[in-house]
Amino acid sequence: MKPFSRAQMAARVAQDIPEGWFVNLGIGIPTMVADHVPADREVILHSENGILGMGPAPPPDKVDPWLVNAGKQPVTLRPGGSFFHHADSFAMIRGGHLDLCVLGAFEVAENGDIANWATSENDTAPAVGGAMDLAAGAKRLWVVMEHTTKDGRPKLVERCSYPLTALGAVSRVYTNLGVFDVVKGRGFVVVDMAPGVTFEALQERSGAKLHLPG
């Protein structure tokens, strides 16, 4: 079994994004997706702090203090990019104008529910940021995450046990072991598997029933 590396997962997502889409990438592996979009494919990145057309990080001597992404890291702007305020930025998100949002998650349920903002209901000072807006608002929500937790618990589940971010929002999940469509009325459908991974091995590491396509 040869699980996908983080870079491979990011590349796999990037490969599925067509030219012209407006895309918001969450923190972590999702952010890495940008580096894997082919240079000749125009994908327009949105950052919830008011940027469209976000480009890669600048070299250290070219940092512009006025230009950061949602993770507060220095970024650049591509020609054709634009700036706007927070209400307009979230109007884009909540009004269904983003073609895609890619987020990490603690759990994804077979009905598309996602839990990615708080690990327990008694969490000290939970922090939600824009996750609920993005999950509820984007046209499509894809999740990229490890297939299981560090101690081996499945993250593809029947019902989320952590506090929810949004209901029925996820349409696709990319893990280090495979790619899954979330199909209404059916659940997780296996679209792709990492090299050497079998359906049985995948099912064993999942907390919900997996389905084969067709």
Binding site: I44, H46, P79, S82, F90, H97
Partner: protein, 226 residues
């Protein structure tokens, strides 16, 4: 390469269906997408619901579209302006439906549609004919009317500058309803006085980011408007 700039009016109008709700920008003649309205007349879609501040003047543009019997209903704030002869005829004869909406409610309903807000409360219209049949609710001791988002299938707008990603700027009071309608429609089509190279519009000065725009066509109104 993303290129939202189309060369012909036929391309600009492609796919507009009968029965569509069409948002039409402009305030009077200013910022009104005249060429696109002509294009829509040419294109042939009928049974339309048109949303605009006014109900057309003279016998061209929106008035012509109505005169041709292509408009089932008009949603506007001020139908009875100087020269709204076609609308008045049709309205008297009961051949067009009218939904009259306070101007700010009209703008806010479209902004809401663009921002994912299905309904909101407003003080405008409380206790008037225009609130009849609508939910009224007291919030912190003051009554408010519940208004619904107003979404378009198509928006026809006019811009000052545009680039191939669909970024737009407007000129002076030509801005009016255009940016709001751009965000409220499934298919937003802009006519623009000037086409700019990508990156030529200062990113701090873009008013409508390209995410709200699907097609752009270059329409120069001529030297009077330059």
């Amino acid at each position: 390469m993303i290129n939202k700039i189309v060369r012909t009016m036929a391309e600009a109008m492609a796919g507009i269906r009968d029965g569509s709700t069409v948002l039409i920008g402009g305030f009077g003649a200013v910022g009104q997408p005249d060429a696109l309205i002509e294009g829509l007349i040419e294109q042939g879609a009928k049974d339309l619901v048109c949303v605009a501040n006014n109900a057309g003047t003279g016998r061209t543009g929106l008035a012509r579209l109505m005169e041709l019997g292509r408009v089932r209903k008009i949603i506007c704030s001020f139908p009875r302006s100087a020269g709204s002869v076609v609308f008045e005829e049709l309205y008297r004869e009961g051949r067009i439906e009218l939904e009259i909406v306070p101007q700010g409610t009209l703008a806010e309903r479209m902004r809401a549609a663009g921002a994912g807000v299905p309904a909101f409360y407003t003080p405008t219209g409380v206790g008037t004919l225009l609130a009849q049949g609508k939910e009224v609710r007291e919030i912190d001791g003051r009554p408010y009317v519940l208004e619904r988002a107003l979404k378009g299938d198509v928006a026809l707008i006019e811009a000052w500058e545009a680039d191939r990603w669909g970024n737009l700027t407007y000129r002076e009071s030509g801005r009016n309803f255009n940016p709001v309608m751009a965000m409220a429609a499934e298919l937003t089509i802009a006519q623009a006085m000037h086409i700019r190279a990508l990156g030529e519009i200062n990113p701090d000065h873009v008013v409508t980011p390209g995410i709200f725009v699907d097609r752009v066509i270059h329409v120069d109104r001529g030297p009077d408007w330059a």
